[in-house]
Symmetry: D3
């Protein structure tokens, strides 16, 4: 049986470290560290809504994702310098946004937009799943502030949202792949779930290899157990709302 580089068991996630309120300006903010992957998530509440929301009485949650140029082993040119977002960034921030929208009842939120910025300070695999998990915390903190400030009266949060990666590497199914594992994985899957054990987003790719329904089920089992634990950590960090 293969041993993971950092000695973890196949169903063992990396240590998660959550530091709240790292930004003095944002309505909600967190530095989330999943092993060596570090992401700053901030939540910005805006009363100015895009035209498709006007007079709808509904709110919106959206996300943006970026990596600092030297978040990775090789420096990447800034997307602002290249003048456009890469396909990878586009794909990732759409997934984060869709996942986090499942945490909110848009009618209770009311006509306002919460933007979750996820900036990867250091990357070691799992940046999008860490961004979703951290993004939820920033979102929840911003909601808490809206309630405390009396901007809204009812809590629009309807569920925790958290995410983890699972994959198949050398025939082994494992959870929370770090970069060296991820880059060699045959199958790579990102799963976002809520606190009822329901799926919000599943994105699995067998680019190097295909996978069967049985393997799929085993991966989802791994993800479900990991996310349950992650949600407990989220709630401990957020405190009561």
């Amino acid at each position: 049986m293969m041993v993971r580089e950092d000695g973890r068991k196949n169903d063992e996630t990396r240590k998660l470290k959550i530091t709240k309120n790292v930004n003095m300006h944002a309505e909600g903010s967190v530095l989330i560290e999943c092993g060596n992957t570090k992401v700053i998530c901030t939540a910005t509440v805006s009363e100015k809504v895009p035209s498709f929301l006007k007079n709808s009485g509904k709110g919106w949650v959206t996300a943006e994702y970026s990596m600092l140029p030297r978040a990775t082993a090789e420096r990447n040119a800034r997307e602002a310098v290249r003048g456009k977002l890469s396909g990878r960034t586009m794909e990732i921030q759409r997934i984060i946004g869709r996942s986090l929208r499942a945490a909110i009842d848009p009618e209770i939120l009311g006509e306002r937009v919460i933007t979750i910025d996820c900036d990867v300070i250091q990357a070691d695999g799992g940046t999008r799943t860490t961004a979703i998990t951290g993004g939820y915390i920033a979102l929840a903190l911003a909601v808490k502030k809206l309630l405390e400030d009396g901007v809204i009266e009812e809590n629009p949060l309807i569920a925790n949202v958290a995410s983890v990666s699972v994959g198949i590497l050398q025939g082994e199914q494992m959870v929370d792949l770090k970069y060296s594992e991820d880059s060699m994985a045959d199958v790579d899957m990102n799963v976002a779930m809520n606190d009822k054990g329901e799926f919000i987003e599943i994105q699995g790719t067998g680019e190097k290899n295909t996978f069967t329904r049985r393997e799929m089920n085993a991966l989802l089992e791994l993800a479900e157990n990991a996310i349950r634990k992650i949600i407990r950590q989220q709630n401990k960090a957020i405190g009561g709302i």
Copy 2:
């Protein structure tokens, strides 16, 4: 029990019409119609490879996706006019590319690139899955031509790749959603599989609602059965290689 707008059963796909060789210039081409969704897929073989392939002895399959401005009920501004690809286009063409790369052994293909262009002439839901299914046909036809022309001697195709959408709408699980169904679906999932019944790409989103593992399994069952039939139609259209 809900009845689908066009009278189909929940496990019934739309009629698939495949017209080969619709482009006199391309190495492989097809017009694929899935109900009212119509996509032209062309395969272009290039001996000029990007730098990451040079001296690797390996080939590459990549895909691009676009919709004509009036493919949809409302006209969309051209991405060329706006000066950039939308996030939706980026996300879709990355999925098509990943799926089709699973059809090819890159070492047998050898140092060349096959670009699959998927241009949606008319859209009625399922454009990305139709593009994958049609893209495989264009790819196979191009491979056939490379073999016939003696450019390559061994067939690099290792599996059929086809795709279909599944979803949950008003509590019903159904396959191959047309636009009016898709826009109201609670859960929307795109599945790409090979001819061994293995998964290549699964992308499921429960933006309007979440889904359970049981529902997930039922959806994959629907997809698997549909894709098995679609692959038979692919092979009939392509003929022997």
Copy 3:
């Protein structure tokens, strides 16, 4: 005397095939085939006008032109990927727009915009002239629909508009050049006319060779005769309005 590759006489146009209503969403649409050149033209009517038309009581006709990447022998990178329209595209779509505006009385059309999208599915010379000829059909069909739907009461069409290329190749004046002829031509001229035999747009270039007034006249004679025939085919396709 030189014989044309496809056996046509110098004053003989290629076979024109017109298929109406190829798009279920557009107000007017046509697939026009001039030999191997194939263009889909759609007309989109919008009640939302640009600021220069507001409160003018006048309408506007505009055109956009694009080629699918593999419409040509060599694949061209998408303009959306390069992030901007090429000079060639810009020049062509301006000519199409100017030509088609001559078909309409803007005051009778009233404050609305009709956008003609001309997408070249396959190219073999004469894409811009085919786009003008097909664009007029899409425009006329859209006008017909506006009249039938009672959106407008009076017919704003004031003239048919059609176009053909003429050129000088190896000393011979000829009409409707296919790509292999066009790329070797000494003089290349695109002519748009109306059904009264009047000119709307003439664009002649002698990049490889210059031309005299006498040659100019002979070319216009060829164009005029060809366009007269093309307009008859347009009207047959459109039916009465």
Copy 4:
């Protein structure tokens, strides 16, 4: 009979003023003033050729066109600020380039590129035709320098190129329209010719009205006579080569 705003006869061009060598860096340069339209044309010779010329033994002439923001009555935003060239600029600089290439034998020029920059300092109609006329002078001066410097031994200039606008305004055919005339013209035509009285480029547009073959001939007659005079002024300015 209509009288032109500035008292000119219909076949009378505006005063042309040519100031040579206005730029100390360029290989050839001229400030050309046609009435109130003022254009600086510079010729830059580069030994670095684009890939399509490499090892062809042939040279190339290309042109770029721009207007200063306040060249016109209303200030126009800079294209550099908007991040892209307008369709108008693209169309115009393609015409200038095509016209000026007719002045040169590319094999005698040899593998080098001459770029003609045409920057409109002040506009009052006819900027593109003035740019062609001035661009030829800058080109000829650069060729003269190449000959004097011994870079080339044979003169690659094969013909003068000059250009003028003609148009129909309130039923009158007239030459060299200033802006107030141009903006009201029913028919607007730009003609470039060489010193043998042959046409290089004709671009006529009847956006506001159509025109007959007879009118076309009268316009070309006007253009021909005007260009003959302009070429005499070009040659006087350039001096012998």
Copy 5:
């Protein structure tokens, strides 16, 4: 002691030539020549203000800067072709704008924007300082026109603004560096001052060498004396307001 290439003394500026009203459209315009550096400055008054000024009762002065492609010894690609402004252009036009805003009382100007376009026709060092000096003249002429036209009643000009470069080259402190001096200078400083001898903008860079406070003071002394003379020339050109 080093002798300057053009024989000037270290504290001697180049000859300044000011030609007013070179543009028939602009509210104010000037061609300013500082030795071989030539800049056209135009002032455009717009009653349409950006959102940050609306209902503020205050005006704004802004500047744009550009060089014609062949203003320099080597031709530079147009920023409009590259699709974006260079960092150098951005930095320069921000400095020009900041300097010229010091000339105006925004409340007396009232809610309107004056845009100063500075287009370098020929460059030989000192383009940004020449642009500031010329920009002030264009601005003053536009203000004069606003007063004469009765658009404003009170003169919003509160001070002359002029600028010059100073630098250290081979140990010598000198004023108004031409390009051949500037490119070899150890220290390069641009100074903008008003007619009271006060500083508006100082930008000094010792990229090739550092500089002491004593050198700094000597440079500012040189700048101050030069600017005093330049302002006299400005006022002579403008005439009374």
Copy 6:
């Protein structure tokens, strides 16, 4: 006498906190906190040099600057989303690059590029000066690593570089302005110096008010004293090289 919001004396800088090696990938890295302003600086060494350095035997130091969207009180749209760098970013990163190049002997560094990325995590005034001070530390750490790894044998660092802002607010001259001070300052000056007390870059702006030579000298005195202390902190953090 005015009292500063945070109780500091006019010549008192904010507390500087330097955390080394915050990035596991970069050759040098630091988190520098100046009061509430927090900047991550990373140094990336690349052996791949731009064309202007090839075969020069010389190295280069360059810098890029960016702010996270919510580094400020109001969220700013990402420059990558807007598709271009703002003028402010351009201006700032050019100043950082120029300043840091003064720290290095390019011939001793040898043909390699060190890129200093300065990413502002939280902003409260003085981001550019903090970036220069922190950028030097990241640079020095990268140089230390190059020496330890034996990539270079001689130390190319020739001087410390540090920076601070000074300004005039309500008649008081003060050092290290926080945002609330900076936004109300009449005069704002950024000064970069080396450890010999020499100036590298001075950029002073009196947009709201002008300043005299006497005030200039007082400001430089303040800056000099502050920078001397900052350099001691830099050296303590870096340790011996």
